[in-house]
């Protein structure tokens, strides 16, 4: 069946609520409206306004109350409406969601998921196209997960809800309408594994979330240039599956990390730094980064110049191959 990522997420929430009555879903406009992206569509009708409800407009409140709910044994799955509106909840996320288990010597665990539609490419107004992964991935105690396909959207969300650590679940909103043939429910690879989406030998493209599709398109386009590009989809940013990356880059000798977020102290920096250390002797070229520019996310009509695209990735591949 052709499933969109939005549909897969919706089904995942539905199935999780059906299978585990401890799962509750809440946030701004997630109830009656079903979410501004309709990811929670129908949940309130199906499971009642006790288990799927609208909150006042208060992101710190949404995340902070989820901490208390999780302490009580529920499994809250909260939605922050847009990436840029996750920042008011930053203190609760960094000071509590990430630290409660540690503070209490594992007496208290917080099985909760914070869903955040993120990234650009949808012509959004300011604050609606942020890529905040660096902020969350740098924070010890958080798992940070982001699907690149509808099947993974389903499977990773189910897995995130099912396990006991808090997850920042970043949904690549520009891919909500992307389709894949898949029968739900589906269980893809384990949550913290990176996956080789396309095997290749010339160089490794490392991508996640919205850029997986772009990297795959670049790899296809690279065929014309005679390049056989490998594409790795990280899926989990924290913890990061370095083993898969090391294996790939040991083989190809070249790596290009792709993300929408700005370059400076971006997530690509971690990958480049770590790969440079781990496969030092195997690198034929430095690990290159293809990223958004180091500017506040630009306005809708010029965002396409900011976002990594096939051409920019291929330029980087070429630079890499020229070493």
């Amino acid at each position: 069946m052709a499933v969109t990522m939005a549909g897969a997420l919706n089904t995942a929430l539905h199935d999780a609520m059906r299978d585990d009555e401890r799962v509750v879903v809440y946030g701004e406009d997630v109830g009656r409206l079903g979410g501004v992206f309709r990811i929670t569509d129908g949940l309130q009708t199906t499971f009642g306004a006790e288990r799927c409800f609208d909150t006042p407009v208060a992101e710190s409140g949404i995340v902070g109350t989820a901490v208390g709910m999780a302490m009580y044994g529920l499994r809250p799955v909260v939605e922050l409406q847009f990436d840029g509106f996750s920042y008011p909840a930053f203190d609760q996320i960094v000071s509590h969601v990430a630290k409660y288990r540690n503070r209490t010597r594992s007496h208290v665990s917080l099985p909760m998921v914070v869903r955040i539609p993120y990234g650009g490419g949808i012509g959004g107004v300011e604050h609606h196209s942020e890529s905040p992964e660096t902020y969350y991935a740098h924070t010890a105690g958080l798992m940070v997960v982001t699907p690149g396909t509808p099947a993974d959207a389903y499977s990773l969300l189910r897995a995130s809800i099912a396990q006991d650590d808090p997850v920042i679940f970043l949904e690549p909103k520009r891919r909500y309408w992307m389709k894949q043939e898949v029968d739900l429910p589906v269980a893809t690879e384990p949550m913290t594994r990176a996956v080789v989406r396309r095997p290749g030998t010339s160089a490794t493209l490392i991508a996640y979330g919205p850029m997986v599709e772009t990297a795959l398109a670049a790899a296809e386009a690279g065929v014309e240039e005679g390049w056989d590009l490998e594409v790795v989809d990280l899926r989990s940013l924290s913890p990061l599956d370095m083993d898969t990356l090391v294996q790939s880059v040991t083989r190809t000798g070249r790596a290009i990390v792709v993300h929408e977020a700005p370059r400076f102290v971006g997530f690509g920096a971690e990958i480049a730094a770590e790969l440079s250390e781990r496969v030092f002797g195997y690198l034929a070229a430095p690990v290159l980064r293809v990223t958004g520019f180091d500017v506040p996310y630009p306005a809708a009509r010029i965002e396409k110049h900011h976002l990594p695209d096939v051409d920019r990735i291929l330029d980087a591949v070429e630079r890499s191959l020229q070493y």
């Binding site: 006042p56 208060a58 520019f293």
Partner: protein, 373 residues
């Protein structure tokens, strides 16, 4: 949904000799008072100006929605139904005062003299902010809810500190009032006696979420007592009362007597934005009911009662509205996207080496693309 208190329709109830404004006040001990009448003392010119701007605002609003349908704007947050608050408040400010809008105050910004095309920049997507805030003393539209309320407070504190008789007026919504920033701002303003007016537009909804899920208080103005500041609850569909109440608060602030919280009870007649479908969460009957309280119709009735709205006046306003709408169409249809290289120019006061390098990369790409194209 929770029924808003039906406030006295003061303006149309006023006799020929003058107009009366009506609102409820929060007593210093916290109690919400009964609606009470206040002499509004508005000149015929001001009464007509209120109408003129509301009518222009309505026209601008309709044109903006059309431009969205036709793709010239990406999205638009309509002021329809809330014109009395936006116009009544903006007209209560003096030139040196500041206005801090949310994303819904297109009409208020227009009243302050900003070219409406510049106001709409955020929605056209050519840049985030479209006008020079320093020139109009209007802050850029704020998308993150309630955050601008703190900016207004800080600006007012600064004005007070410098001994300037400048007032900051900030809008916020009934949804935004639930954010921590709204609380911090009102409390800090009260403690520092900042010359700031908090104008809370209670339009009954935060996107799809009705007021009763936003607060359990019978009135949002009740928050004022918790900060030790005066609070007022006013019929937000009555331009005279809004204007008089805001003017009073502005004067109070200017006199050094600190901030005021004003809750203007009104209704968002349209969807949240052009991207929203309000039929998913509210009934046509509810909308119809509020249609009967349309601020323009009410104010026009008042003008007519006072003999202040002849055909020439109405025709002039209509023509002015059409001219503005034509200007919007001319400026926004097929407007160029803007220079992408500008994105490197406003990050810092000077481009850093990193930004220079990135700019050079994009410039090279654009040049290469131009050659190919």
């Amino acid at each position: 949904m929770s029924q808003p208190v039906t406030l006295t329709e003061s303006s149309s109830a006023a006799g020929r000799g003058g107009v009366t404004a009506t609102w409820q006040e929060i007593a210093p001990n916290g109690a919400l008072g009964e609606p009470a009448a206040h002499p509004a003392d508005l000149s015929p010119e001001r009464l007509r100006e209120l109408y003129r701007f509301m009518a222009l605002g309505r026209r601008i609003d309709g044109q903006a929605i059309n431009l969205t349908r036709q793709g010239a704007l990406g999205v638009f947050a309509s002021s329809h139904g809330q014109e009395a608050v936006e116009v009544g408040a903006a007209l209560a400010l003096e030139a040196g005062d500041w206005l801090f809008p949310t994303y819904r105050e297109t009409v208020a910004a227009f009243v302050r003299g900003v070219d409406v095309v510049e106001v709409l920049t955020l929605f056209s997507g050519s840049w985030h902010g479209g006008f020079d805030p320093m020139r109009y003393r209007v802050a850029p539209f704020a998308t993150p809810l309630a955050t601008q309320v703190l900016h207004a407070t800080g600006l007012a504190m600064a004005a007070r500190l410098r001994g300037d008789r400048v007032v900051a007026l900030t809008f916020l919504g009934d949804g935004a009032a639930s954010e921590g920033d709204a609380h911090e701002a009102m409390n800090i303003a009260a403690v520092s006696q900042a010359p700031c007016v908090f104008l809370l537009q209670n339009n009954q909804y935060a996107i799809s979420v009705p007021l009763r899920l936003q607060t359990r208080a019978s009135a949002l103005a009740l928050r004022a007592a918790g900060y030790g500041m005066p609070g007022i609850r006013v019929d937000g569909n009555d331009a005279v009362s809004v204007h008089a109440a805001v003017r009073g608060a502005v004067e109070r602030a200017r006199a050094g007597d600190g901030p005021t919280l004003i809750e203007a009870v009104t209704y968002r007649m349209g969807a949240h934005t052009t991207a929203d479908d309000a039929s998913r969460y509210r009934s046509a009957e509810e909308v119809d009911e509020w249609q009967g309280r349309d601020p323009l119709a009410r104010h026009l009735a008042l003008l007519r009662d006072h003999g202040l709205a002849d055909d020439a006046f109405l025709e002039a306003v209509r023509a002015e509205g059409e001219a503005i709408a034509a200007h919007m169409r001319a400026a926004l249809y097929g407007a160029p996207a803007g220079d992408p290289l500008e994105m490197f120019d406003h990050v810092y006061s000077a481009r850093t080496p990193l930004l220079e390098a990135q700019r050079a990369q994009l410039a090279a790409e654009l040049a290469a693309a131009a050659e190919v194209g």
